[in-house]
Symmetry: C2
Subunit: 307 residues, 2 copies
């Protein structure tokens, strides 16, 4: 099994009520690949950085057995930088600055060795660029993709074309409503399935996640965290944990996709405990398995029904 993650690699400056960090490692491809690296190795990453990208970040990604053959380094350019501030309730965030730099004209070139990747995870990038990636891949077994309000608003036509080529779309509840102009989340999910994907996973932050197919709905609880230091990357860690589990088990059944949602939720819950990727640096498989079991306890109830 081979897993390819494509998306942004960034340097983030983040303020939350619990602290501030400057120029830390971030980006959708980074979070996806790091989360997935707990399930399969190596993870193939495709992205772009500038000549200023710190050696220690390269070292970290390599320590997670992430294959950086597809990471373009534009020596004369600067890495994509993003600054954001979270409010007290951590549900709303304000973008302080976006410096696209080398990411502005990101043209992902899939190295020949990556073109037969089995599992593809497309981070939240321009839907036209997502499609260009898929055109370079030979018969992937599964394509999972993300998107965001910016593309729903600005490139809806291109997004709809790309959605037809995704098997599973992972987006948040507000995006699902925006994409379909449907207030009811279940109706919105079903409308997205009619757009092409066979499965949609709706991330609801502190309320967990929903997996919806034409005939099934699965509701995953949120892990009850009392300390959340930095929500950045949670959605990408979710996607990475999800596709990582699928790639590890090589099982696309609905039952296994439910387990993958729980693994995605587990990785997202670890992610937000600390700033940047700090908590995803050295998880153990015992920690991941324990959290999986805690998720099970969270939603389990005995089926006894009195007559």
């Amino acid at each position: 099994m081979s897993l390819l993650a494509v998306g942004s690699v960034a340097m983030d400056t983040i303020e939350t009520p619990f602290g501030r960090v400057d120029n830390v490692l971030g980006g959708s491809a980074t979070y996806i690949a790091t989360a997935a690296s707990y399930f399969v190795a190596p993870i193939r990453l495709v992205g772009v950085v500038g000549g200023d990208f710190p050696r220690e970040y390269i070292d970290f990604l390599e320590s997670r057995e992430i294959d950086l053959e597809g990471l373009q380094v534009v020596k004369s350019g600067k890495t994509f930088r993003w600054g954001g501030r979270y409010q007290y309730d951590l549900n709303t965030r304000e973008t302080l600055f976006t410096e696209l730099n080398v990411f502005e004209h990101f043209n992902p070139i899939i190295p020949p060795a990556f073109r037969k990747s089995t599992y593809i995870c497309l981070g939240n990038i321009d839907p036209e660029v997502q499609r260009k990636v898929l055109e370079q891949i030979e018969k992937p077994r599964l394509v999972v993709g993300d998107t965001m309000n910016f593309w729903i608003k600005g490139k809806k036509k291109e997004l709809l074309a790309t959605l037809k080529r995704m098997d599973i779309v992972i987006i948040n509840d507000a995006e699902a409503r925006q994409l379909t102009e449907e207030a009811n989340l279940i109706k919105a999910a079903k409308a997205i399935i009619r757009m092409g994907p066979k499965m949609i996973i709706i991330k609801k932050g502190e309320h967990g996640a929903l997996l919806v197919t034409e005939r099934t709905i699965f509701s995953a609880p949120a892990y009850p965290l009392e300390i959340i230091n930095d929500p950045t990357g949670a959605g990408d860690a979710f996607a990475g944990g999800f596709i990582g589990w699928i790639a590890k088990t090589d099982d696309l059944s609905e039952e296994n996709c439910k387990r993958a949602v729980i693994h995605g939720s587990a990785l997202a819950s670890f992610c937000v405990e600390q700033f940047s990727l700090n908590r995803l640096k050295d998880l153990t498989s015992i920690e991941i398995q324990d959290r999986f079991r805690e998720f099970r306890e969270l939603s389990k109830f005995d089926a006894e029904v009195l007559v």
Copy 2:
């Protein structure tokens, strides 16, 4: 087992994107008692109405085996009337009018035959009035209570005193945050437990419900309804289904409280399918059991973990 419900009995005028009804049966005690009536009989109701309260509403409550000995009828007065309008997404509502009428000086007198009730459910009324109810009850086995933003803001001291006498408090997420001034819902729940109740149930509308005790957290999914005609009374139907199940089984274990949360969620999901109490008029026990099982399927996943 005997179950007593105390709260408002009202005539509601409701507008939703899906229709409008005028002067239909409503009120917290009405929804609680009707939902609970699917589990135990008779349900004891204490409330007040005016001389204008329609005979057909009395007939309906009696058809559900609700004992109306504690329903004061003030012949010269008018019944509490409430008018509300729901917006397109059904999550926000606007109060169009509130005519308290005979409910303004509601002084609940518990009939002697009701004073030994085992299970007490206090609808969302003035916390001082809730306390007056409890002073008239001899050693209840369980006191479940609701409250709302109006009392949290205006009568916080009285509410805190009443909370000490509740075993289980059932409120929504915004109210839990408001009461504790804590953005993190898990921290808010634990703060409320420190105020007195042994258990708190947080209703999250389309995101389900959380049961929290000092050592346990249980996450119940929401039933994935595509058609919601009228959200009015859902929280009270939840409370009625919850305490109804507890009274039927006479089992206060945490495991059984989880099942009660699912039964509460089931009754709430039926409630919102139609306006007023229309869907709660003639449910069958098969329908309730089927929905309980559907809830189980919704959140169930196989625990297999690969090493």
